[in-house]
């Protein structure tokens, strides 16, 4: 009896998988074509490269957040972790504040710091039972606090040519940062597809109780997912620093919600158990095409915010049309 109830919807959803997942990519293509028709500059190769370059940081943050969302939790720590990591890396590579010049090691430390923050969020969730919303929001504040302490009134500007070069040097027409982001998406996809961590993240989001009852210890996996997400935020902080040439406390400003938006637009549900890295990557591109396209076609800045919001809501609505008949409760 029970197994029937569980099985029925699952089989149904698997059958509809390809149709349901087509929503966001179709929306991406439609939005792209509309802008391309309206603006010759938009469809230029330069601008396409520009869009992909601009998407790099958001893509990395979204990779991290996607794992957390798949698990049915939420993560608002990106802004703080990125700020802390940005300050850390800018003070460890060659800069105008001190004599450090650790190069790659500095980047590694910043990423590890991100891991540590993520791990703490995860531990607060599983050990102290703080809801992920609050745990990560708190961790964001801690990150910003740490960043402000390191900032100490003087902005660290980086002079490390390697770190600065990541944003400036190009390979096949795209900046190195973009290739790093592409690498992150690939790694994220492999983790999601082929590792126990990725599979369990899905399963925890789908039905945590069932997983726990079948003898899986979910807690370590939850902590691991938050740690992985933290690593992505740490890397994103490094990337922003490379782009701006300076360590900013505000390096991650707004990325937490942009990343959640991108993930949801791409079809990763906030309720967990659905979506994934591929979806989120499409979502990131959709958001970036939108912001770029509105400037290129010359929508007045006074209108842009509102227009962008409307299109995002419309895109999400279009993407979930196939799911509407599933009688799903939307909160």
């Amino acid at each position: 009896m029970t197994s029937e109830v569980v099985n029925a919807p699952r089989r149904q959803s698997r059958r509809g998988a390809s149709f349901r997942d087509a929503g966001p990519p179709v929306a991406l293509i439609v939005v792209f074509l509309v802008f391309a028709a309206l603006s010759p500059q938009f469809r230029s190769l330069d601008n396409v490269a520009n869009i992909v370059d601009a998407a790099a940081v958001l893509a990395v943050v979204t990779c991290g957040i996607t794992f957390v969302l798949m698990m049915g939790s939420i993560d608002l720590s990106a802004a703080g972790v990125m700020g802390a990591s940005a300050l850390t890396v800018s003070l460890l590579v060659a800069n105008n504040r001190n004599d450090n010049d650790f190069g790659l090691l500095g980047i590694a430390v910043a990423v590890l710091l991100g891991c540590a923050f993520g791990c703490l969020s995860g531990l607060a969730l599983v050990l102290l039972k703080v809801p992920s919303f609050m745990a990560t929001l708190g961790m964001s504040a801690v990150g910003l606090g740490v960043a402000t302490l390191m900032f100490a009134g003087v902005q660290p500007n980086i002079s490390d040519t390697m770190v600065k070069g990541l944003a400036i040097e190009r390979f096949l027409g795209l900046s190195y940062l973009t290739w790093i982001a592409a690498g992150c998406v690939l790694v994220g996809w492999l983790v999601q597809r082929y590792t126990r961590l990725g599979r369990y993240a899905f399963a925890i989001g789908g039905a945590e109780e069932v997983l726990a009852l079948s003898g899986v210890k979910v807690k370590p996996y939850k902590v691991a997912v938050f740690t992985l997400a933290g690593a992505f935020y740490g890397l994103a902080g490094v990337m922003v620093t490379s782009q701006l040439g300076a360590g900013l406390v505000q390096a991650g400003d707004g990325y937490d919600f942009s990343a959640i938006t991108a993930a949801v637009v791409g079809g990763t549900l906030l309720t967990g158990g659905r979506g994934g890295i591929g979806h989120s990557a499409v979502g990131v591109l959709l958001v970036m095409v939108l912001t770029n396209g509105l400037v290129q076609v010359g929508v007045s800045p006074y209108w842009q915010g509102g227009v962008e919001g409307l299109i995002v809501v419309a895109a999400v609505a279009a993407a979930v049309i196939p799911q509407r008949r599933r009688n799903q409760v939307v909160k």
Partner: protein, 363 residues
């Protein structure tokens, strides 16, 4: 159920009433203090100096607090540094905590988060008899001259600074060519005034054409993305970039570097953050405007200190000095060296000189 609840309700309403009563009596007591505090001069060593800004994580507000420290040190005191992270509620809480203590010789130099945050701060300080100087934000109809201890409101003429850098940009590109403008948060007075200044400058410099204007919300990261997009949109028609603050100007500089256009496009900003001043000095940036944050941090406390110690009579402060536009400085390559390190001049903070930088009354 009801029987259990009733005593609780009685206790709660009693304590509520008590709280309200004590609140009233506190206010009344504060009111009496005003009269005393306004007349009897404080010992210089008894003055308590408080500087409050949004956060210490940007160079401008950090230099503000440093200026406050410098002034406090010059009179043998220390400044209490308060930051409220751009959170209006937190700012009000901090103010009420400060005002709940001894307010007789209290001097506050405050950066209100927004226009609407000024009124409660002024009201609180007035009731407690604390000397207050506010900067940047206040609603037009709220005037320091109507209050006894709200000594002065200092702000800067955004139209003027927007125009100054607009003119500098026009000169830098040789009087003709296309420019793009990066606006701040569109619904702030600073963004509106500065952009109005650019438009005034454009009327004068007819050869300069505004190709595009976009909001980058005063943010370096957003300016980077927006500038890259605008550069692909307008290509080499862009000869200059006008940014409503330096953070955006610096973001635009990074975008130019990434597009391989560094040094080919003139960039101007406002605020004179240290990095921008360095960039002006190096010639990568054309101009910026300084409000002199460390002066702002020092002079607000100095005005209050002079009033508290009786060296400055509140009634004798000229009406135009109660709310004024302060002098601001256009920084170009010629004078960038002087502004490279934020520093204060102790002479600016002497009681006779605190109003030396009044550029005009705030209307």
């Amino acid at each position: 159920m009801n029987i259990v609840l009733r005593p609780a309700a009685v206790i709660m309403s009693l304590s509520l009433a008590a709280a309200v009563l004590s609140g009233c009596s506190e206010q009344a007591a504060g009111g009496n203090d005003t009269a005393a505090g306004g007349e009897a001069a404080c010992e210089p060593s008894a003055v308590r100096l408080v500087g409050q800004v949004r956060n210490e994580s940007n160079p401008y507000e950090a230099s503000w607090l440093a200026g406050g420290d410098a002034f406090a040190k010059s009179v043998g005191l220390t400044q209490e540094r308060l930051t409220y992270d751009g959170d209006s509620t937190k700012q009000q809480e901090q103010i009420s905590q400060i005002l709940a203590g001894d307010t007789k010789c209290l001097v506050m130099n405050v950066l209100p988060n927004g226009d609407s945050d000024t009124a409660p701060i002024v009201k609180g300080a007035d009731q407690a008899g604390a000397y207050l100087v506010t900067q940047w934000n206040k609603p037009a109809d709220l005037k320091p001259a109507d209050y006894k201890t709200w000594l002065s409101h200092i702000t800067y003429n955004g139209v003027e600074s927007g125009q100054q850098i607009g003119d500098a940009l026009a000169t830098a590109i040789g009087g003709s060519g296309g420019i793009i403008a990066l606006q701040g948060v569109l619904d702030t007075a600073a963004a509106k005034d500065r952009f109005a200044g650019l438009q005034k400058s454009l009327e004068k410099n007819t050869g300069v054409k505004l190709l595009d204007q976009q909001a980058a919300n005063f943010s370096r990261a957003e300016a980077l993305t927006v500038t890259k997009t605008l550069l692909t949109k307008h290509g080499d028609k862009v000869k200059g970039i006008w940014a409503a603050n330096d953070d955006m100007a610096l973001g635009a500089l990074e975008a130019l570097q990434q597009a391989g256009l560094a040094g080919k496009v003139a960039v101007v900003g406002i605020d004179a953050v240290p990095d921008a001043v360095t960039a002006v000095k190096n010639g990568t940036m054309t101009a910026t405007v300084s409000s002199d944050g460390s002066w702002q941090g020092g002079v607000g406390l100095a005005i209050g200190f002079c009033a508290a110690t009786g060296k400055l009579k509140v009634e004798e402060i000229a009406k135009d000095n109660r709310a004024f536009f302060a002098e601001q400085f256009l920084i170009t390559k010629d004078n960038a060296g002087e502004f490279a390190a934020p520093k204060t001049n102790p002479a600016d903070f002497e009681c006779g000189n605190v109003f030396n930088r009044v550029a005009g009354p705030l209307t």
